[in-house]
């Protein structure tokens, strides 16, 4: 069982990101997945949580996730909040939308495995959102699928096509760019 918690803001597509991951896992035939939104009153800009629970076996647990294997920060401003690492497993992973150098980020979460995804830059390159409000969810999904080996490209591509409401080709380009970068990084690490 792999459990992921997403920290985003209303309007950033945080829940859509969790849904894309669920769909990609299903499409890849690698297992089952639940995408669970944190249940509140949706307001643009307010902190939003979503979860993804992935398993090779049927998933019966239907509660929220309290001890994630990975946390994903769609907004780098959350880095200052202790809530983002609450309950994170000791060897858990912090995946953050950031262009800061790895060392700077590693210093923020001492002892944690931290991966920076330049999702904002990738999103803006492909014309997704504005500098003040970039739409980073699809780039984050691309990186996440590569980093955690959740799905192959065709499975992810299909998931993005199903999930995004507009600008499908630009979203796919952003997803692909992040997916390729982190697949290369994962290969190099091996």
């Amino acid at each position: 069982m792999l459990e992921i918690r997403f920290h985003g803001r209303g309007g950033q597509g945080t829940v859509v990101a969790a849904k894309i991951i669920a769909e990609a896992v299903l499409n890849s035939g690698r297992g089952q997945c639940l995408a669970i939104p944190e249940f509140g009153v949706e307001r643009r800009g307010a902190p939003v949580l979503a979860y993804a629970r992935i398993s090779e076996k049927p998933i019966r647990v239907r509660s929220r996730i309290y001890e994630p294997d990975a946390v994903v920060l769609l907004d780098p401003a959350f880095a200052a909040s202790p809530a983002v690492t609450a309950g994170l497993k000791p060897d858990g992973l912090v995946i953050v939308n950031s262009e800061l150098p790895r060392e700077t980020l590693a210093a923020r979460w001492p002892g944690r495995r931290v991966i920076a995804v330049p999702a904002r830059r990738i999103a803006l390159t492909h014309g997704l959102g504005t500098p003040a409000s970039p739409l980073v969810n699809t780039a984050i999904c691309g990186a996440l699928c590569a980093i955690l080996s959740l799905a192959d490209w065709p499975a992810l591509e299909q998931a993005v096509r199903e999930a995004v409401p507009a600008a499908v080709e630009r979203n796919l380009a952003a997803t692909r760019e992040a997916f390729e970068v982190f697949r290369e990084a994962a290969r190099a690490a091996r």
Binding site: A18, K19, A22, E23, L26, Q32, C33, L34, A35, I36, P37, F39, G40, V41, I59, R60, V61, R62, S63, R64, Y66, E162
Partner: protein, 382 residues
């Protein structure tokens, strides 16, 4: 074909696959997407029935009362205050013996304002004469909508298909969506026995004297009991055709259990995980989920309980001054009995019910600490 769907979408697709003639609804959190998807399918021409966005839940059910009276297959969905607002019409529809099917997404009632899951809304409609099914997965939501039409049309009583707000309604998971041909093979077209028709005038629901009223009420009870067999048969046939299905209750590792967690809804799924983890420690745990609440499955419940097993009934509902609602019903169904039955009220207003929390409840009941008459109000310490 497997698709990643939220529970609300599974509900709407179930209605579309049932070839509903008239759907009337009013959106309310957390049921909203079931209405949105039906409206979208209707706009695209994929839902061939008539979709009516009503001005209120009271109107939605009134529209269905009329539509079903002229022989239409009808659908609606609602939650919480929307259901409460329909209350009067629920009696009208059941009394008129109209097989309306409604999807009810559990949400707590105000005051104070709350959006999250709580079964008190649907359970407080217990005595309206509607069948009630409680689902544990979104797959079960879709499958149960199809089964509910079949049963409702055979016993001529309405049915409520209930799912947990957010926990199921908004959670995305893979759902196997049957083809239209497969759905048609399971659910034949509705053939109403007698309908309002200007060519053959009849009157429905007019003033009725006590003797006839009493006899008509007795028939409702008779047919509600008959529905137990019809629900079980629909589940078996569904299993034969689709390879998955549910009965009146779902028991898990109960055969030799010392203490059994009793739940309804999505908690029943989490409870199986709790049981496995307790079993891994050598403890004799089991769980039982009531899928059907009305008609109450007394015999099916008794049949899967070992003679001396303790019961820990976990209720996400409460009747003030009494106890959790499933707790009351289960005690009544098992009377007379020397069995220890403990009631736990948990997760009202959307409090999360986790594996660890269920383990704590199980241990408490297994130690015999709970007092049988008073329910324990329990909160997750974590």
């Amino acid at each position: 074909m497997k698709k990643v769907l939220m529970g609300n979408h599974a509900a709407a697709l179930g209605a579309a696959l049932a070839r509903v003639d008239v759907a009337a609804a009013y959106p309310i959190t957390p049921q909203t997407q079931s209405v949105e998807l039906l409206a979208e399918l209707a706009a695209k021409g994929d839902f061939k029935g008539r979709f009516v966005l009503a001005d209120s839940e009271h109107s939605a059910m009134s529209i269905l009362l009329g539509a079903a009276s002229v022989g239409a297959r009808t659908f609606t969905s609602t939650s919480s205050h929307g259901l409460a607002y329909m209350h009067e019409l629920l009696h009208w529809v059941a009394g008129a013996r109209l097989p309306v099917v409604m999807v009810e997404v559990n949400r707590a009632l105000a005051a104070p304002w709350n959006l999250w899951t709580d079964q008190t809304d649907s359970l407080s409609q217990r005595d309206t004469g509607w069948m009630q099914f409680y689902c544990a997965t979104s797959q079960e939501v879709l499958d149960t909508v199809l089964q509910a039409y079949r049963v409702a049309e055979r016993v001529r009583l309405p049915a409520m298909v209930v799912l947990d707000g957010f926990t199921l309604s908004h959670t995305y998971e893979p759902v196997d969506v049957p083809s239209q041909a497969a759905a048609d093979a399971f659910l034949p077209p509705y053939q109403p026995p007698d309908i309002l028709d200007p060519a053959r005038p009849i009157s429905l629901g007019g003033l009725t004297m006590p003797k006839e009223y009493f006899r008509l009420r007795r028939r409702i009870d008779h047919d509600m009991r008959r529905a137990l067999g019809e629900i079980a048969a629909a589940g078996r046939d569904f299993q034969t055709q689709f390879g998955r299905g549910c009965g009146l209750v779902e028991d898990y590792r109960c055969e030799d259990a010392a203490t059994i967690l009793v739940t309804a809804g999505a908690v029943g799924s989490t409870a199986q995980e709790a049981v496995d983890s307790l079993r891994a420690e050598g403890l004799r745990a089991g769980c039982l989920r009531l899928r059907v609440f009305r008609p109450f499955p007394t015999q099916a419940l008794r049949a899967c309980l070992p003679p001396r097993a303790r019961l820990a009934v976990v209720d996400r509902s409460y009747s003030p001054g009494a106890s959790g609602i499933f707790f009351q019903e289960i005690k009544a169904a098992l009377y007379p009995s020397r069995r220890e039955i403990a009631g736990y009220v948990a997760g009202l207003g959307g409090g999360d019910i986790t594996v660890e929390f269920l383990r704590d409840i199980w241990r408490d009941a297994d130690a015999g600490r709970a007092v049988a008459d008073d329910p324990a109000w329990v909160e997750d310490a974590r």
